[in-house]
């Protein structure tokens, strides 16, 4: 089971919507990932495997987590699925 963090800047709206969509994809695809939700402060002390955030934030935090996924369109489940699969492929 891989551990992920869904985060946005404020940790209020965008990341919660993103988490809802990520959870849908994980459950539909039966992926072995569990995600929690937070803001960028949650990155401090985060010891999981992957951070999922908005594309513009992803650049800034690229060196702060083992693997960072930036999502351009948070309603696009195909984009989320593709990027999660890319992450899982690095683990094989």
């Amino acid at each position: 089971m891989y551990k992920g963090l869904v985060a946005c800047r404020a940790g209020m709206g965008s990341s919660m919507l993103l988490k809802i969509k990520v959870d849908q994809v994980i459950s539909e695809e039966g992926m072995d990932i569990k995600v929690e939700h937070g803001n960028l402060d949650s990155l401090i002390g985060f010891n999981g495997d992957v951070v999922i955030t908005m594309e513009d934030v992803a650049h800034e935090i690229a060196d702060k987590a083992p693997y960072v996924i930036g999502v351009r369109n948070i309603m696009d489940k195909v984009e989320i699925k593709t990027k999660l699969n890319e992450f899982l492929a690095t683990k094989q």
């Binding site: 800047r9 209020m12 965008s14 919660m16 919507l17 939700h37 351009r72 696009d76």
Partner: protein
């Protein structure tokens, strides 16, 4: 429930705005008038965009305008605004914005279910088509109540 956070008074259609700031202010205005947020919350949204960019343009043509609760949330609410003319927010993936949802949230947990419903709404192409044709806030509210 989504319908508990949205009311007719928080829905404005075919708003004319000169730029993204004007659009955010006009979309949030009903929430200020209805005592859901303080003016400082709207300032917080605009300040955050200046500092860190248009972080809330989430999907094609859709902005979820929001800031931190401490900027001035009084009560949890969601406002809906459609723009007469779509406006560039500076998000190259999802510009121009035509629909602005203004979110005020007291805390994360209280709003998860409303956001979950909102996520369901935001992925429905029919909802945007409906918004484009809707003539009144009452019609939009009826649509949401019927979900």
């Amino acid at each position: 429930m989504l319908k508990n956070m949205i009311s007719e008074e928080l829905i404005v259609l075919n708003v004319e705005a000169s730029d993204w700031k004007d659009a955010v202010r006009k979309a949030a205005c009903p929430l200020v008038n209805q005592g859901k947020i303080k003016e400082s919350y709207v300032d917080g949204i605009i300040r955050a965009v200046h500092e860190i960019g248009p972080y809330f343009v989430l999907t094609k043509h859709v902005a979820l305008a929001h800031s931190r609760p401490e900027d001035g949330v009084i009560e949890g609410a969601i406002g809906i605004a459609t723009l007469k003319t779509p406006i560039e927010f500076g998000n190259e993936d999802n510009d121009p914005v035509k629909y602005i949802f203004t979110l005020s949230a007291i805390d994360n947990n209280a709003h998860l279910s409303a956001l979950s419903d909102l996520a369901g709404l935001l992925e429905q192409q029919e909802f945007y088509e409906f918004l484009d044709k809707a003539k009144s806030a009452e019609e939009v509210m009826n649509y949401i109540n019927a979900m």
